[in-house]
Symmetry: C2
């Protein structure tokens, strides 16, 4: 186990790398803690939850909605949760998003911590304090930026992770490489998914490296005025098509990264689009896809990143260097028309 304290603007988060779930008992008072998890995680790891107050939700992005928040709040009232209660989200990104959001609004804010159980949640979703829910087809339309008190990384949860979930995680890992870390990109080129699944050491290093890439970006710019926007690489088009076609998040942003790479070629002279697309493909992710560009464009115009008539699109100058590119919707529409 390795502990690291990270200071954000108004709060500090304790990271417990390479830890064991059992450590949770040392971090919080069991009788004043409520765990939020989903049926998958609960059934697969039932022993771990013994003796904990637990709220078990239905799994899946389609439940990352207000109705689920209502259910959690009703159960918290029922359980007698008060301002001294700590909520702990044990699950993938949907669970950490909902848990963080409920903790932010219940009684105007109570403490929370996360135990991410999917690769994607470990390297991305659980980090940085963004939480929230979807509204119709609009992703994360409602939520907060609020840091948890701690993150506990227990890799044993990954043993039961289905392949598509591994691929989802690698979509964000490839994104980190593309915008920030050319050496990581080389590492990904020279390995394949099964290497990381088989080699616990290699995987542990990969997770920690990615946690620290994202953490550094968020520490520099918690409220997304500048650098943090880079983390949206692949996410603008990605979010638009994710709920349209019920894609997994990784699949959606992989397609988003593919088209953003083509746009980078056109607008920024980016020369490595083929290499990036090859790596996405190697890790089992979709790249080119048929989608309704008109509908995607309509949804995208309601994106949180929009500012009146324009939107901040993330492009690449080269592998390891993402840039924020403001684009007028009229320009973007023309570009999208090329994709049909």
């Amino acid at each position: 186990m390795k502990k690291k304290k990270v200071s954000f603007g108004n709060s500090a988060v304790d990271y417990y790398f390479h830890a064991d779930f059992a450590r949770l008992e040392k971090l919080v008072a069991k009788e004043r803690t409520v765990i939020v998890t989903d049926e998958h995680v609960f059934k697969t790891h039932q022993k771990k939850f013994k003796g904990w107050n637990t709220i078990v939700l239905k799994p899946g992005e389609e439940f990352k909605v207000q109705q689920t928040v209502d259910v959690v709040i009703d159960q918290l009232i029922e359980l007698g949760a008060d301002r001294k209660t700590t909520l702990v989200g044990v699950g993938g990104g949907v669970i950490t998003d909902i848990t963080g959001y409920v903790a932010g609004i219940y009684m105007r804010g109570i403490a929370c911590g996360f135990v991410p159980t999917s690769l994607l949640a470990m390297v991305d979703a659980s980090i940085g304090g963004k939480n929230g829910i979807d509204v119709g087809v609009y992703k994360n339309m409602v939520g907060l930026i609020r840091q948890p008190s701690f993150l506990l990384f227990d890799h044993s949860f990954l043993k039961s992770l289905p392949k598509v979930e591994w691929q989802n995680g690698f979509a964000e890992i490839i994104k980190h490489a593309a915008i920030k870390d050319a050496a990581l990109f080389k590492l990904l080129q020279s390995h394949r998914l099964t290497d990381f699944q088989r080699d616990a050491q290699l995987l542990a290093k990969l997770i920690e490296r990615n946690v620290l890439i994202k953490t550094k970006v968020v520490v520099n710019d918690e409220f997304e005025k500048g650098e943090r926007k880079l983390l949206n690489y692949g996410h603008t088009l990605g979010h638009a098509i994710e709920n349209m076609y019920e894609l997994s998040h990784g699949q959606a942003i992989s397609i988003g990264m593919t088209y953003a790479a083509l746009m980078s070629k056109q607008l920024k002279g980016f020369k490595q689009a083929d290499e990036l697309i090859a790596v996405l493909d190697k890790y089992g992710l979709p790249t080119f896809a048929e989608f309704d560009t008109k509908e995607a464009f309509r949804i995208l115009q309601k994106d949180k990143k929009k500012d009146n008539q324009q939107i901040s699109y993330i492009l690449l100058e080269k592998i390891g260097k993402g840039v924020v590119q403001p684009l007028l919707f009229v320009q973007l529409k023309e570009i999208f028309n090329q994709f049909t």
Copy 2:
């Protein structure tokens, strides 16, 4: 018009005292602003809203619930509101609470300002950044502490205020006097409600004085670790019975203050319970009341202010000096039994 800038921990709020609603055009860009108001205010002051994007809600505390929040969010998406949009709540406490809450969570937070139109909203609800909604019988169970960018006080809204709303406002004014300001209490003793309704100068001074009492408390303790708790005087029992009996907020906390005064007599040697009750009565507020003490006690045990087996109850040592008194629920139950 008199402007005052107040600095809270992470933010500053501009107060515009004695201002005119028309000034709003100078504070925000009209085309990037959405006003949230209710049918009463909208119908009575229709001309003021001309040319503004406006979301009009049904009036009343029973609509201070998640369903209304959902409606506002859907309309904001429909209107194309983005992160540069400012929400302006024009109304009483229900409207400023909902507007502040939606602004805090929509796209993870957009700017907001308030134009309080009721006396209660002017002297209390719009100040201090607490916002939120009720969950069943539990008041303000969900919400945030987040300051607005500005407050605009236009007393012309009070001309159309029904009498019961004036009384509601005076409940909070009497509370401020009881916990913090013995001189204000004397002023209230030596006048009656109609004096303030008739004398615009007297009223303006009263509003500003109360705004500054509350502001000072919140500046000292924005996140309610200590002093801010005093503002809950009358609110613990008050909140429990408010939704049980569909009382107005002022009526509920007036009854709450009455019983808290009796408790103060018993536990703190408070000698002015009769004076306080006389003033509540003078301003048309209910004092002693028959209520289901068992049910009230049950609801109260879920109050946000509870901490495991105890609750912070606000009592008075003397007029002008409120104190925080931790009480075990077992003690409180005994005390409540005396009231039946």
